[in-house]
């Protein structure tokens, strides 16, 4: 963009750069929540670094290749991807004030997220029952911390989604409820980004 075009339409181009008046509340709220999500990514980067350093320290215990079941991991990934999609459609229906469609997509999002969690918990339970719990080796400690932290985020996302649906029931799709829904969908999509990292680093590279 050249200076000349900024002179022609100042409010359109100058927003976000200090000129053209204050940004809409929706933009400011999304920016603040994005900063939080980035700090969450940085916390996860510490866990990823710990896993990368410790992934070979199996202390004679089972390795990733023996433990991971890629078929389950594929189903988990599909659940998360589809729930991200329905979460996007849910955000769209909320913006267009279609409350019925919003509920339908919210239920899909919740069920797919819950399915992911059920598979993950049964995977964890299977590993612990085989004697491959978090105390077995440094590799497994790092594995349970990283993957469990992502699972904890999904759990809190499900609680948050339930709470948001309750807010829509009670208050309707008002602007401040819409902004909270915007933050929720940012959170839910960000969890998918973390999962891509977990899938690649832990499961696909670890199972080879």
């Amino acid at each position: 963009m050249t200076v000349a075009t900024i002179d022609v339409v100042p409010t359109e181009l100058a927003r976000g750069r200090g000129g053209g008046g204050p940004a809409p509340t929706r933009i400011v709220v999304a920016y603040g929540f994005w900063i939080f999500l980035l700090s969450d990514f940085i916390m996860f980067s510490g866990l990823f670094a710990a896993y990368a350093v410790l992934s070979d320290q199996t202390a004679g215990g089972p390795t990733g290749r023996e433990l991971f079941n890629l078929r389950n991991v594929f189903i988990e990934t599909a659940c998360l991807l589809l729930s991200s999609y329905t979460c996007g459609l849910q955000a769209l229906s909320a913006e267009q004030r279609q409350q019925g469609r919003f509920y339908v997509f919210a239920v899909f999002t919740f069920v797919l997220g819950a399915a992911f969690l059920v598979i993950e918990i049964s995977e964890f339970a299977g590993m612990v029952s085989k004697g491959a719990g978090p105390s077995r080796s440094a590799f497994l400690s790092a594995f349970f911390t990283l993957v469990g932290m992502h699972g904890a985020h999904v759990t809190s996302g499900l609680v948050w989604l339930t709470y948001m649906v309750a807010q829509v029931v009670v208050k309707g799709l008002r602007p401040h409820v819409l902004r909270r829904l915007l933050c929720f969908s940012l959170f839910w999509h960000a969890l998918d980004i973390i999962w891509i990292g977990v899938l690649t680093l832990v499961y696909l590279i670890g199972a080879r």
Binding site: P22, Y31, H176
Partner: protein, 124 residues
């Protein structure tokens, strides 16, 4: 409902209502690309057709591509004026993530390389 909205909306004066950048098509395109990249990752990780030492690098490249798809199609990171601050914050976040992960791996690899052999340090 409309009057109620205007009353409750604390949008600042002089700013027109935002046109949403999102639509069903963008989410569907994002889902399609994400599914393609995920399947590619699984295929690459299981195949015997590729040079094995190169596969982890390939998987990481596919992961970055998919993260890009998610950022653009699901989180709506774009080049619009409203997104400048988001992109700058993302760039800073990526820098820190990069420093934490590569820095940890680098330092720990160095420590491992310089470590006295375990048997010499602590005879069992």
């Amino acid at each position: 409902m409309d009057g109620d909205d205007r009353l409750l909306d604390d949008r600042n004066p002089g700013v027109r209502p935002e046109e949403s950048v999102a639509n069903v098509l963008s989410y569907t395109a994002g889902l399609g690309l994400a599914i393609l990249l995920t399947i590619a990752s699984f295929v690459v990780s299981q195949t015997n057709l590729l040079w094995a030492p190169g596969i982890p690098v390939g998987l990481i490249v596919l992961a970055f591509a998919q993260i890009g798809v998610h950022l653009v199609f699901f989180l709506h990171m774009g080049s619009g004026p409203d997104n400048t601050n988001n992109i700058l914050a993302l760039a800073f976040g990526l820098l820190i993530v990069f420093l934490v992960i590569t820095g940890s791996c680098w330092i720990m690899a160095n420590l491992n390389a310089n470590m006295m052999p375990m048997s010499a340090a602590m005879p069992r």
